[in-house]
Structures are given as C-alpha cells and as structure tokens.
C-alpha cells in the first residue's frame, strides 16, 4: 500500500475516533448528571421551598422562577427582536444605519453575559433602586435573547422565497400587509426554532441573574410579585456550590443539575414536536 493510502486510512480512523470520542464525552456527561441527580428528584424536592441553613430544602420556588423569568424575558425581547429582524430583512436599505444595526447585533451577541449582568445591575438594581428583582433579572435576560432573535428572524425572513412577496404585492397589498400576512407566517417555524434556542439558554443562564435577580427566592410558591428576588435553578446550583451554607449542598446541586437538564430537554421537545406537526399540515401532507 502506498504511503498516501496509509495516511488516508489513518486519517479516516482518527476522524472516526474524534466523532465517537465526542459522543462518549456527551454520554459520560449525561450519565453522570442524570445518574447522580435523579435519585434526589422527589415530589418534595420539586415542590418545597429551599432552606438557607438546614438540610432537606427543595427547589420549588426556583423551578417556578426559572420559567417565570424565562417567560418574562421572552415577553420583553420577542417584539423588539423579531421587529428588528423583520426590519433588517424586509425594510433595511444598504447604508450606514443598516451597517450600524448589523454591527450592534453582532456586538451585543458577543458581550459576555456577566457584563450584561453588571449592566442590568447598574440600571435596575442601583439606578432604579429596585434591588434584586424578578423584573430586573428578566429585563437583563432579554438582552441575552435579543441578538439571537434578531439574527434568526432576519435569516428566516430572508429564506422565504421572493415569489411570495411578489405575489402579495402584485395583488395590491402594502409592504406591511405583505410582510405580516404572506412572509411572517412562512417564517414562523424558523422564528419559533430561534425562540426555543433562546429559551434554552435563558433557562440555564446564571451570570446575568446573580446580580440582577439575586440568590434568594420567595417563601411563597408561585409568587408572581415582579419585585421579589427570584433565584432560578441554575443560580441555585451555583449558589449552593460556591457560597451556600446548607449542609446538603452536594445533594441539592446534583438533583438540581439533573432537573435543569431535564427541563431544557423537555422544553426543546415540547416546542419541536407541535412545530413539526404544524409544518407538516401546512405543507398539505
């Protein structure tokens, strides 16, 4: 066999090893997280409030806050993110303003989340004087969502064939009627995929929330007060492992990690499935 051929075989082998190795790493992670954590996930763990000093606390409030904060952050960021994306795809003409917005989106996407957290802290905790609040955390979290939403919306809108726009405009539709009635519906699946992506990240975010939503949670389950501090699952893991005083920190961290992972996975599936079915229906079987 020639040298080149030997190298080719060797390379193929190594590339397979890299691919399989990556899968092994992932499997090890999942097995470790779920294996360690699942035993701690009991009904009590999911529904009781947490303890500051004693063992045996649950993460009920944190579980609620995770969804509450993520939902609120989407509520704030979706209109602006999708709006800006639509603007960039459908209205923006080449020029200084468009370049500036595009650069801004890239810049905002690259700002480390800890910096967003500090920005939110200056703005909401100090300047507004709210202290650590759910609303402050959610508003800051929406800055994390924003660039992804803009980018995904713009890309998806652009991928909608021009013939839909022409068809609508030729019927005498205004630009906005065309965008909202003919283009956006076609782009919706893509945008929703972007929303899942964004929500998954928001659910697991810590650095932004520690100094905006804080590391304590309401004593009452399902407390909707926007001006309470709102510790989430992810922040809870961080807190008990780095600063917490509870004696069962390891158990809480293990259980919460597994729970968080499950939440992220279920969330992705829960949105992906209806999306798939809806799209299938729209395409006329």
């Amino acid at each position: 066999m020639s040298r080149a051929r030997v190298f080719d075989r060797l390379a193929t082998l190594l590339l397979w090893a890299a691919g399989l190795g990556t899968l092994v790493i992932l499997a090890a992670f999942l097995i470790r997280i779920l294996g360690q954590g699942l035993p701690y996930i009991t009904w009590d763990f999911l529904t009781t409030r947490s303890q500051a000093m004693k063992a045996g606390g649950g993460v009920g409030s944190q579980l609620f806050n995770t969804f509450y904060l993520t939902g609120l952050s989407l509520l704030f960021s979706l209109p602006i993110g999708v709006g800006a994306g639509v603007y960039m795809a459908e209205y923006a003409k080449p020029g200084r303003f468009t370049d500036l917005v595009r650069l801004s989106v890239e810049a905002l996407a690259s700002v480390p989340s800890i910096v967003l957290g500090l920005f939110g802290m200056i703005l909401f905790v100090n300047t507004m004087g709210w202290g650590f609040t759910i609303i402050g955390g959610a508003l800051t979290l929406s800055l994390l969502n924003l660039p992804t939403l803009v980018r995904v919306t713009e890309e998806t809108m652009r991928s909608v064939p021009a013939i839909y726009r022409e068809g609508s405009l030729a019927l005498g539709a205004t630009r906005w009627q065309t965008v909202s009635k003919a283009v956006l519906p076609s782009a919706l699946p893509g945008i929703l995929t972007g929303v899942t992506l964004v929500a998954g990240r928001a659910i697991g975010e810590t650095a932004i929330l520690i100094y905006t939503a804080g590391v304590t949670a309401s004593r009452h389950m399902g407390d909707l007060n926007l001006f309470n501090a709102g510790e989430t699952l992810a922040v809870r893991i961080w807190y008990v492992k780095s600063e917490g005083l509870v004696p069962d920190a390891d158990a809480i961290a293990a259980g919460t990690s597994a729970l968080l992972l499950i939440v992220v996975l279920v969330f992705n599936l829960a949105l992906a499935l209806p999306l798939y079915l809806w799209q299938k229906k729209r395409m006329g079987r």
């Binding site: 209205y91 480390p112 920005f119 906005w176 009627q177 492992k241």
Partner: protein
C-alpha cells in the same frame, strides 16, 4: 378601508425601525455605562499598576488586575488547544467522512452540548475533573487546566458547526478536481478543502475564543478563585469573569474596588468587540482572495 392599511403600513415601518434602533441603543448604553464606571477606576488607581501589577489586594489599595488577564487568556488558550483540533476533526468527520445517520447523531449531540447550561458544566468540572486532576497531578486540582478542559467542551459545538459549514460550502468542482487527479480523500481534505475553508474556520475559532474568554460560572467553579498569577496548570488562580462574580457582591457601588471590577468587565467588552472586528476582517479577507 385603504386608509387604515396605509396608516398601519406607516406605523409598522416606524415601529420596526425603532426596534432596530433599540438594539443599537442597547449596545451603546452598555458601552457607556460599563465603560464610564470602569474608567473611573483610574481616578484612584494608576493605569499602569492596574494592567501590569500582579498584586490584587483591594483592602490594602492594591489593584493589580494582571493575574486575571493572564488567567483568562491561559484558560482560553488551553481550551482552544484541546477543543480546537477535536472540534475541527469532528467537523471534517461530519462533512466528509461520516455516514448520514452518524451525522444526524452528531448534530443532535452538538445541540445537546449547547443545551447544557454552563453552571452544569461547572458542576461536572467541580465534582469530576477537579478530583481527577488532584489525584493525577497532585496539588489542589483546581486551576487553568480543568477550566480549559471544561471550556474546551463548551466551545466544541461552536467550532464544529462553523467549520463543518465552511468545509461543506467549498465548491464541489474544487474537490472533484483534486479527487480526479488521484488524490486520496485525506489529501483532498488536507490539501484542498481545509485551505479553501480556512477563513471561515478561523472565524469560528475566534468566536470560540470570545465565548471561552467571557464564560463565567463554569470557570469560576473550577478555577480556585485565588487572585494570583497562574502558578501552574493545577493550582488555584482566577480570571476576569470569575473575579467579578466573586467580589461584585461585597463591594459598595462607587468604591475603587467596585470600579476596578467594572474596569475588568469593560476589558471583557473591549475584547469581545475586538474579536468581532477580527472575525469581520478575517472573513472579508477570505472573500477578497
């Protein structure tokens, strides 16, 4: 009736424009707020000392942030060193070698890697890698090596996704040309595909660098949080992000200590701005060629 259509058309145009402008406004506000707070540091602290002194002892008035810059850079470079080749290999594998079913498995795996929250990465690092490192290398176990390893896994999807797309987008005739000349698959990959895809792969690596550099929670949980210059691969040190998250809570707003932490945050922002400019430059150069 038509009038209403016109009014909403106008209104929509303005609202959408305002949304786009809001994004720009946000990033400008971040630069101003964080930058102002940070630059005020130099009212009390000598800039030279901030950037080049290794001594960080705020209660004693020593604000040398050098250890954190060095810590961040070291951990990130280790991450690239470990994650870069592996990510690139996965990308080549997915683009040119793997059968279809394996590719979709890898895609799902990549999505899962992205989906795992960074605090969970940190938790794994803390409970698995740190003890492993302590047993293998002795010492504390915490430090830039474990931080780099965790970051390597975290940036894997970034590198893999960007590089796979880049390789896949190399025009077919180029590849067929090489294969037609009797080159083996590996010779084609190494000699034709990778050079052609290089600008975009490089852009992916820069993005990965930016991500790793700004990662906070995962790093903070395994770095050891000792404010000193990197003493070794497996001894406690600290990074820009981890130091901010550790100390921000205990410093009163407006104090030099607080401002110094903001200055470090501003350093993170400046770094990420430089990275996106670098990405643009690299990508444009690729197009021009």
């Amino acid at each position: 009736m038509l009038n209403r259509a016109y009014v909403s058309d106008k209104a929509a145009r303005y609202l959408l424009w305002a949304s786009a402008a809001a994004v720009t406004l946000t990033i400008v506000a971040i630069l101003i707020f964080v930058g102002k707070e940070g630059l005020l540091t130099f009212a009390d602290v000598n800039p030279f000392a901030f950037f080049f002194s290794p001594e960080w002892d705020p209660p004693q008035g020593h604000f040398g942030a050098l250890p954190f810059f060095v810590g961040s850079i070291t951990a990130t470079l280790i991450a690239l060193l470990l994650g870069g080749p592996l990510g690139l290999a996965c990308a080549i594998f997915m683009a040119k070698v793997s059968p279809g079913w394996m590719r979709s498995v890898m895609r799902q795996a990549s999505n899962l890697f992205v989906g795992i929250p960074s605090v969970v990465y940190g938790y794994i690092g803390m409970t698995v890698l740190v003890p492993w490192s302590r047993e293998t290398f002795g010492g504390q176990g915490v430090g830039v090596l474990v931080a780099g390893m965790i970051l390597a896994v975290m940036i894997l999807p970034t590198i893999t996704t960007v590089a796979e797309d880049a390789i896949r987008d190399v025009p077919g005739p180029l590849e067929e040309g090489a294969l037609g000349l009797g080159a083996t698959r590996w010779q084609t990959i190494w000699g034709v595909l990778l050079p052609a895809a290089r600008p975009r792969i490089l852009a992916g690596v820069i993005l990965a660098f930016a991500r790793a550099f700004g990662e906070t929670t995962a790093v903070q949980m395994v770095i050891g949080n000792a404010p000193r210059l990197v003493p070794g691969l497996t001894s406690g040190t600290s990074t820009l992000t981890s130091q901010i998250i550790m100390e921000m809570g205990q410093t009163p707003p407006g104090s030099p200590w607080n401002r110094a932490l903001f200055m470090m945050a501003f350093g993170l922002v400046v770094n990420s701005m430089l990275m996106i400019l670098l990405v643009r430059w690299v990508s444009n150069r690729g197009v021009a060629k």
